[in-house]
Every structure is written in structure tokens, then in C-alpha cells.
Symmetry: C2
Subunit: 295 residues, 2 copies
Amino acid sequence: MSTDHQAVTIRDCGPRDGLQGETPLPAAERAAIANRLAAAGLTDVEAVSFVSPRAVPAMAGASDVAQLLVAGSAVWWALVPNRRGCELAIEAGFDHLTVTVSASSVYSEKNTGMTIAESLAQVAQIRNVAEGAVIDAIISFSFGSPYGDGVTAAGVAQLAADLRAEGVDRLTLADTTGSATPRRIAAVLGQTGSDVGLHLHDTRATALTNAYAAHALGVRRFDTSIGGLGGSPFAPGAGGNLATEELVLLFEDLGIDTHVDLEALLHIGELVSSLIGRSVPSRVASAGGLPPFDV
Amino acid sequence: MSTDHQAVTIRDCGPRDGLQGETPLPAAERAAIANRLAAAGLTDVEAVSFVSPRAVPAMAGASDVAQLLVAGSAVWWALVPNRRGCELAIEAGFDHLTVTVSASSVYSEKNTGMTIAESLAQVAQIRNVAEGAVIDAIISFSFGSPYGDGVTAAGVAQLAADLRAEGVDRLTLADTTGSATPRRIAAVLGQTGSDVGLHLHDTRATALTNAYAAHALGVRRFDTSIGGLGGSPFAPGAGGNLATEELVLLFEDLGIDTHVDLEALLHIGELVSSLIGRSVPSRVASAGGLPPFDV
């Protein structure tokens, strides 16, 4: 049933976005999760973040994690917050980098101390330092902001155009606190085109529906997190990421190839639960795969 | 944006399916929830079940609840498990009745001690007793069964035809343990037609996506539960019902009229939480409505 033009690329952000708000895990455990995600079929994994360990203790030791990743088993992504982080990431061997810029001016200034224009200038610096790397610019709060700062579809589209002008290779639209709906996604994609990634959070239980609707609109890249862990520690009430298990279960049932083995994901979810010491939020992690049904 | 042919009817089953597995609440509190749902705009509420109070203690006192419902403020539905329950419901003033028949032979025999054929015969008895009433037959496990008893789309369609032949006025397809997907729903509706209700559970985080996809296929009647409470106490791991808040938030954003006031629902969710002594599972109940976004 699968056809190539329907197939999707899933980037599991569990080791980064998923774990960043958790009690810190040792580098070896974070690398083990990342390597098992690659073995389960994930072609892309966001493995680390080169942020300040003072700001985000759970992301300390990114270079140690990097050394334990199995080269070539997946495209390994590193989040770099600034020029210094970018240099460290390149030293550690990463050639796929995520950078974030916020469509919310309030969040940008609160979280990074920069205006949106200043964060764009920083992306330009990162672009210069990371000449040969693939850079994916993630626009946070792409579908609404809880800070009353008037994020609009036109504003997001302008920011996307500005980032392309700075030479980023890809764009990902992030629904940081679960404000997206199929209608809002259609409105933004109408201005940016559908050659973007989507980074969805399940704050309002809409993440899977948004992915389903976005796929119908042509989106083929999705960020998820094993177990549905995650949510910005700097955006209260962000809610977990769209769970990898949930996207894989739905899309595979629809005949959309994800390249990912759901059974293997369920085992990784158990590993993650045991490492963080509580159940992961993903409902598929609890309920397991679908029972048979002859249509 | 709303057009009448898009609008949906939501039946909130919170006072019945939502509360049936909870520590029993007094009749006055259950009626208060039901009345507030009606005041929030719900046109249909499943208020009670005339099951044995020994089997389902939380549903005891259905006639007491009935006396406290504001007549005419909503279509009040009562679940009737058999002829005796039907007689009690009619005595209590109900003229809209739900009956359940299982597409899973294993569940049917385990839960009711009847074969599917015997449960069809019982629906015929109820139809005779409740001459003037509207009967909605709910087919449980319509999209798959965890019991390995080979539920199929064709089997569900045959059961639907058998129920229509017994004279039921409406059919609702229930996804009792969250096995439905847009593909499975399309397969079943292809045989039953889309003039059915859908009763979705969020066991695998697919409930909202299924509702979204089913609406596109023409379904206009949905069962939900305030706060996402619920799940059959006799089907382990059933998972809560699709939360009323979540369906209303999504559909209203899409311009699909639900007649329901989301802000009022959020207040009812708080009431329900305080009565049951814990948070309700609905993510919208926690996160609230959408922030603004100018498309």
C-alpha cells in the first residue's frame, strides 16, 4: 500500500527535547536510547543540545553522548543555541544542526535575551561557522503564542523567508505549546509551502490530528519524541511532544511508510520509563499495537 | 464559516460511561453534571444506565437522577441493558434509549452471558417494550477486538443490518478499546453508510484523529465524555472516552458548529475533577482554549 511519495521522515527528538526537562541521565544512557532509536528504524534522531549545562543540566555532556553514537546508523542532529555551541557541535562531529528562532517576541526575549532580529543575526553567524553542515531552523510558536504577542501566519511566513535568506537548508515549524489546528497549519503552509518539517506538541491532544492533516497537505517531515516525553522547560505547560509510537501506529495503518518498527519502539519506551523512573505519557506505549481487524 | 450540513450533534456520555467506573457519586451530583452539560449547549446527554447496581455500583439510583434532570433542556438518554432495565427507564420518563450489542462474541459472552444472537433477540424485546421510544443501538468493538475473536468490517456491517431489521432507530459504532483508525473507519462506513454515530475511546491517542477523519466521511453524530473520563470497567485498558472539550475545541476551530460553549465545559471539567477527587484526563481541561492566531 505504501507509495514513496507518501512516505515520511521522522526525527525522534526524545534524547534532546524529550529528556531536557527530566532529571539528568548519564551520557551513556542517553546514547543508548539514541542508538536504539536508530536501530528501530529512525533515520533521524536529535541526540543532543549544546546549550549551557547551567541552563539545562539534563543536556550536559553532549560531546560524551556524541562519542557513543553509532556513526552512520542515523542522521544525528545536534541543537546549537549560538556560535559557541555550533563550534562545539562541529568539534564533536555533527554535520546536521538544529537552530531555533521564535515567532514569539516575548518568548525570544525571555528565553534567549534576544529580539527576533538578533536571533536571526545569530543564525547568520552559525551559518558562517558551520559551512558544510545541514542547518534546520526551527521556528517556535509557529501556530500561536500564549504570551499575547500577536503571532500571525504572515509573521511566521516572513520569518521563514528571512531564515531562508540567511541560508538555512531546512525549516521546521514548531507548535511549542500545542496551539496548532488543521486550519492554522493549512493557513501557514499556504504561505510557506509544505516543504517544511512539523514539530508538534500534544498540549491540547491535537498533535496526532495535526500530523494527519498536515500529511494530507504534503508535509513529509515530522519531529516526535519516544514515549511522548518533552516540552520546553522554559514554556510552562508546553505538554509533551507528539509520541513517536503514536505517529508510527497511525501512519503505518494508513499505509504511509515510516521506516520504523513499532514493536522495537515499545521496547525503547519501556527502557526510557525505567531510566526516568515513571511511565511515559504515550498512550500507545501503554496500550501496545492495534489488534487485528479484517477490513 | 459554519454551514449546517457540517454541524455535528455531540452526545456527552460523561454521566454514564464517564462515571460508571468511578467511586459512586450521589444522584444529585450526577444530575448536576448532566444539567450543566445541557446548559453548556450539549443537545444530547447520556445521563444514566439502568444496569444492576450490584454489577455497576456507580450507576445505582438512575431513577433518582432522572427526577433531577431539567426536562426539555437536552435529549436525555438512558442505557438499558435488558427488558427490565427498559421498563424502569420508561417509568422514569426516558424516551431515548441506548442498547449495546457487541461485535466481539468473546466480550458478549463474558460481559452479558449472551451470544450475539441472544443479545439481538433481547434488542427485539426492548423494541417491543419501548414502542414509542427512540432506540440507538451501540455496537461495541466495531473496529477490532483484543480478544482474538476475529471482528471484521463485514461482521460489523451484518450486525448493523440485523439491528436495523429489529427496528432500532439509530446505530452507533463504538471503539471500545481504541482500535479504530481512519482506514478502519472508512472500511466500516463503506458498508454501513455514514448515517451512524461514533463512540470513540482514546486508548491509543487516536480518538480525535478518528473523529476528524470520520467527519470528512460524513459522520455527524459523536459520543464524548466531559473531561475524557470513562472506559468500560469490564474491558481492561479500555481508555477514556474522547473528551468533549477536545472535540469541541477542534471542530469549532474548523468552523464546524457543535452548539457547545467551550468555556462552560472547562468549568464543568473543574466541577467533575472536584467531585471525583482527581484531575480529569482531558488535555484541553488542563491547557484551556487556544491562544489567538491571525491566519
